[in-house]
Structures are given as C-alpha cells and as structure tokens.
Amino acid sequence: MGNQATNNSFAFRLFKDMQKDNLQYIYRGIFSQNITDSILSLTESNLEKSGESSKIKKRVFTIMVEGLQNITRHQEMDEKVDSSSETGIFIIQNQNNRYYITTGNPIFKKNIADLTGQLNKINSLTADELKSYYKDILNDNIISDKGGAGLGLIEMARKSGNKLVYDFVDLSENYAYFYLNTEISQGNEDASPTVQKATDSLSNIKEVHKILNQENIVLIFNGIFNQESLLNILSIIENQMMEQNLNLKKKVFNIMVEMLQNIVKHGTNSYEDGSNPGIFFISQKNEQYQLYTGNFIGFAESKTLKRKIDYVNSLSLEELNDFYEKSLFNFQVDSSKEAGLGLIELRLKTQKELLYHISTYNDKFSFFVLQTGVE
C-alpha cells in the first residue's frame, strides 16, 4: 500500500509538473506510420478546439509533420541495447500563447558533427537566406539515403520563424540522444527569436523525460478530455499494441475506455474556461500495463466516489459479478452520464483492487487519481 501512495502522488506531481510547463501531450515509444497519423489527428483536434488562427494551426501542423518524420526516419537503434532510453519522444507544449514542439530520438554519435553543422548553418541564416538555401538544396538534388538532406530542418526553421534549439545527450558508446525544440512564433515573421526560453523549456523536458524513462511511461495526454481525444488516444494505443494477443489488447482497450470516459463524463473543470483538464498516462513493463487517470472532481463528490470504490474493492469477485448483474438491470441509474457499471467493470477486468488517491486541490476541488494494472 505504501507503493500505491507513492505511485499515485507521483501521478499528481507529474500532472502539476506538466501543468506548470503546460506540456500537453507526450508520446514516447516506437513511431510507426499509424502512430504518427494518430498523434497528428489527436493534436489537430486539440488545435481545432483551441481557437487558434488558421495560420498558427497550419504552422504547428507543418512543424509537427516534419518533426515526426525526423523521428521515424532517424530513430537509429541498436537492437542489442535495452531500448528503454532509445525510443523516440514527441512533445507538444503551449505556454504563454506560444507553441513548442520537441522531438527526441537516438542517433549514431558519428552523425553528430554533420547534424550540428547543418543546424548551425540553418540558425545563422535570415528568413530570405533560408528560402534560397532551401531552393539550392532542392536544385542540387543532394538527397541523403534517408531522403532528407536537412530539408525538414530548414522547413521547421522557416515555418517556426525561430532558431532551432537542440541538444545531444550521451547514451552509450555509439549512441547519443538528439533533442530538437522549436518555438512557433505567434505573430509576424519578424518575431524575435527567444532562444533562451526554448532552451529553458528543453532543460525541463529533459528532466521529465528522465522520469518517463524510469517509469517506462509510453504516453501522456494532458489536455482536454472529450470523446474525440479519447478515440485518438485509443487508436494510438491500439497501434502500439498491434503485436500483443487479442485478449490483452481488448482488456487494455476496455479499461482505457472506462477510465477515459470517466473523465469525459465526471471530470470537473476547475479552471472555468470550459475545458476538462486531466491527465492520462500509461506505463508498460514487459507485458504489464499500468494505466493512470487524474482529474478534478468536486470536493463533495469525492466523498461519494471514495465510498463507491471502497465498496467495490471490498467485494469478492463472485459478489462483484452479482453486483454487476444487479447494476446492469438497475434502471434507476441510467443516464447518458452514468450507467453505474464502470468501476465494477474495471475491478472485474483487472481482477485487482482499484488503486486511487484523492488530494485536496483547494476548498472546492479535489484531484482524483485512479490506477489500474493489466497483465
């Protein structure tokens, strides 16, 4: 039980850390085409809701595409080495009305010099110079075997209107981890580069990344929870679990839907801006998945919720099954918001006690963390 408290408060801490820097979405893992597509549509639907101008949306989108392609093309991995720190990472952050996109992937150390040269060259150019440099490369037809020739990087610099901030972190004898952080300027083309801020945000991200590696967290969504984002998150996880057996996949799917729809339906907005903030993350160790949700609930509701979970936890699996059937036919609880089955289902599916933690946030709201494990 001590472990439960640690894990759960860790979830709240992670939520607070992510809120502080407004990291909206992190994906860490293998980037396949399907996963990339799902990430794009998830972010796209969140952008749609953000009320950004179409110009900004388009910029963010273009830079995301380039960044994600960089990862898929260049994730250079040594099969022999433990892959936990060698997976790609994608982060989108919206802070003080500015978007930051960070990508990370392992690269061969022998490529660092070339890459640094390209980045420094790009950073030394003005907007006009970048434009002609881009054309030059196209005309010269110098395309690398990976198809890039740095065009992606130039495009990112052009579309962002800012310098590219980067860093390399030592991984092993042959590998380093390459971080690339792009700030997307909001306003006019002449927005002054704020390299310092991007550099700061990159150093925070490196800290968060360490925690993600430690806990092997593969996906964090910290944003607006609605049916649309739920479907996108589901499709990312479905793609990531493609190789797993059907029953495990369905179990994870099942549990995710119930947990995420809990937030969609019961999450309370403490920010009074119409959003439904919360956090979802999933960690994976071998064939074991831990799923966490965190969301705000009204202080009074938290007591009722606690009673419900404690009751569900107190039942044997046989009693639980009876309770499920009784609830299935209890049409006094039957609305678009509540069927009264979610928690029972979660405990039946995981065959374990539901772990939870309720922290006081202020006098009106509590933060509710629910954790389930699937094997």
Binding site: L246, N247, K250, N254, Q261, V264, E325, F331, S336, A339
Partner: protein, 126 residues
C-alpha cells in the same frame, strides 16, 4: 413501417433493422459518448415493429467491443426482445470471435439473464 439503417462510425456499430422480414443486425464496436441516445431509436423501432407488424424477429449481435454504458443499453434491447418473445417468435444469435473470451462471456450472461432464445455462435477471424 420503415427500416432503421445506421452506418458504423469510429465509436458506434452498424445497425440494420429490417421491417420487411424482422431481420435485425448490429455489428462493430460500441463506445459512444451518449449510449442512451444511440440505443433509444433501436428500442423504439422494436416496440413499433411489435405493435404494427407483430411478427417474428431474428436478431443478430456481432459486436467486437462495447463499453459499460452500451452494456446497459444492450440490456434494454434484450429486455425489449424478451417482452416481444411473449407474443411472437424471437431468435437471438450472439456472435463472438472464437478466442474472444470477453464477448463470449457477455453472451453467456445475457443467455442466463434474459428469457428468450439466445444462441451463442463462434466465428473465426479471416
């Protein structure tokens, strides 16, 4: 009386309710945001069919996933079929993928709890 045809979406199943011969079919996955609203027309259609046409019904369920909110509404569909079975022939076939333990046990649960002819039918993927 009209048929009820709904195309499947990312979070709702395909529905075909045929008033000509009472053949009904629901296939896919079901996790809509508002399950009550999605299943209400199906229940209403069944009630209307029973009142206006009052003939046999063959209902095929071929779901590969449904959330708890849908489970409750599917229970209501089952109860409606149970009611119709008192006056007309009702045959329910619950299809499940052979290795899908979840859907199979849901079918067994309904077969146990609903007083109607429910047959479990296994199928293989391909």
């Amino acid at each position: 009386m009209e048929n009820l045809n709904l195309q499947h979406t990312e979070d709702t199943p395909e529905v075909i309710l045929n008033s000509f011969d009472g053949s009904c079919f629901i296939e896919g996955r079901s996790l809509p945001e508002n399950a009550v609203a999605f299943y209400l027309p199906i229940i209403e259609w069944l009630n209307t069919y029973n009142n206006e046409i009052s003939a046999a019904i063959n209902f095929e369920f071929k779901l590969d996933y449904f959330n708890t909110a849908s489970a409750k509404q599917i229970t209501k569909v089952m109860l409606t079929l149970q009611k119709i079975a008192q006056s007309n022939a009702v045959k329910i076939r619950w299809h499940y993928l052979t290795e899908d333990a979840d859907i199979k046990s849901s079918g067994m649960r309904f077969a146990k709890l609903i007083k109607a002819d429910i047959e479990l039918v296994a199928y293989d993927d391909n």
